[in-house]
Symmetry: none
Subunit: 182 residues, 2 copies
DNA sequence: GCGGTGTGTTGTAAATACTGAACGGCGTTG
DNA sequence: CAACGCCGTTCAGTATTTACAACACACCGC
């Protein structure tokens, strides 16, 4: 865990010089130099000042991955999505070549009558989505919502939930959940 | 962002006294006291020493959620999304009442000529999305992609990237990123 | 060659953080 | 009520970090 190395890598990634970053951060260039050379261990307040010039949060700073990423497919045509349909509901997952994805991003179609099941779903994480067309019924906890095209939702997946399409038109939506369960 | 308050909350959560934590961490109790009272801003090295006595990483320390969750709105009508538009690009965020959301889920519109800027973006996390209509140019690292309606993408946000719409039709897409930067 | 502008590094003096040894408060035990 | 143990705070001295101002080097235009 090398603070100086991290700072230097991030600074260069942003294309900033020590002086430029120092000016934005409200510290002197020598401070940046010494931090990067690990000849000092900056105080939290001064590191935070430095990061504010990037800008970047403490959490980001300490969790940024410095190693170059492995090559993976980036763009997917519609037919390249993984079909993980469950029963009547059509679900297609974006990013098949990302085995350790953080986000499950999918397009879903609920035909008339489709349902995630009478038993409410509960799992870890958070989920969100937006309805593109049709109407859809969403139950979270004891609350029931009727979603219409353009409506969106966001809730903690630990709350019991259920999706259902009791209408006579298919409902099409795009959703995201984290952490990914697939 | 109150370092002292965080440290005290975490220490008490672990059932440690200042002296006990100090002993495990290899610092003096007065150091802990002053950090908790915010009468000093500890150096990275000493904060790291302190955290090693818990034990806890820097990332954990800065990302721990101290407040209990408040009940939040679940369903949002189209007009209830937060507008975080940046220049020409229209961006609307789902889940305004989730201040500590894990996912940034948004609808974006790139009018003709819109661009995230000549300077490539790099930040923590991963991002994904799907193009609903129009065409959009995506650059990741040294690769250039042309997205068409129905195409999707998925990549690590640490890779320099840029979105641009050089075409004469607006591009509309839905995206998800984690962790949320907003 | 020169002067100008950019880079990162390095002395020194001032500001800040850390240690070690006090202190006062609080509950328990004799 | 003393004596003890543990708690968190405070103070003075020491150690570390920071700002300011130089410095050395590289590049560019003239």
């Amino acid at each position: 865990m090398d603070v100086g190395e991290r700072l230097q890598a991030i600074r260069k990634l942003k294309g900033l010089s020590q002086r430029e970053l120092a000016k934005r951060a409200g510290v002197t260039n020598s401070t940046i130099s010494m931090i990067e050379k690990n000849s000092v261990s900056p105080s939290i307040s001064s590191l935070r000042k430095v990061l504010s010039g990037i800008p970047m949060s403490m959490v980001e700073f300490f969790s940024v991955e410095l190693e170059p990423e492995s090559p993976a497919q980036i763009v997917y045509k519609a037919h390249e999505l993984i079909d993980i349909s469950d029963g009547a509901v059509t679900m297609k997952l974006v990013g098949k070549s990302h085995p350790n994805r953080a986000i499950a991003f999918l397009t879903e179609v609920y035909p008339p009558g489709a349902d995630t099941g009478a038993e409410m779903l509960t799992h870890d994480g958070e989920e969100t989505g937006i309805l593109l067309e049709g109407r859809l019924e969403l139950v979270v906890g004891t609350e029931l919502f009727i979603l219409e095209a353009g409506d969106s939702y966001y809730f903690e997946s630990t709350r019991p939930h259920r999706f259902r399409n009791p209408y006579d038109q298919p409902a099409r939506l795009i959703s995201a959940a984290t952490p990914s369960n697939f």
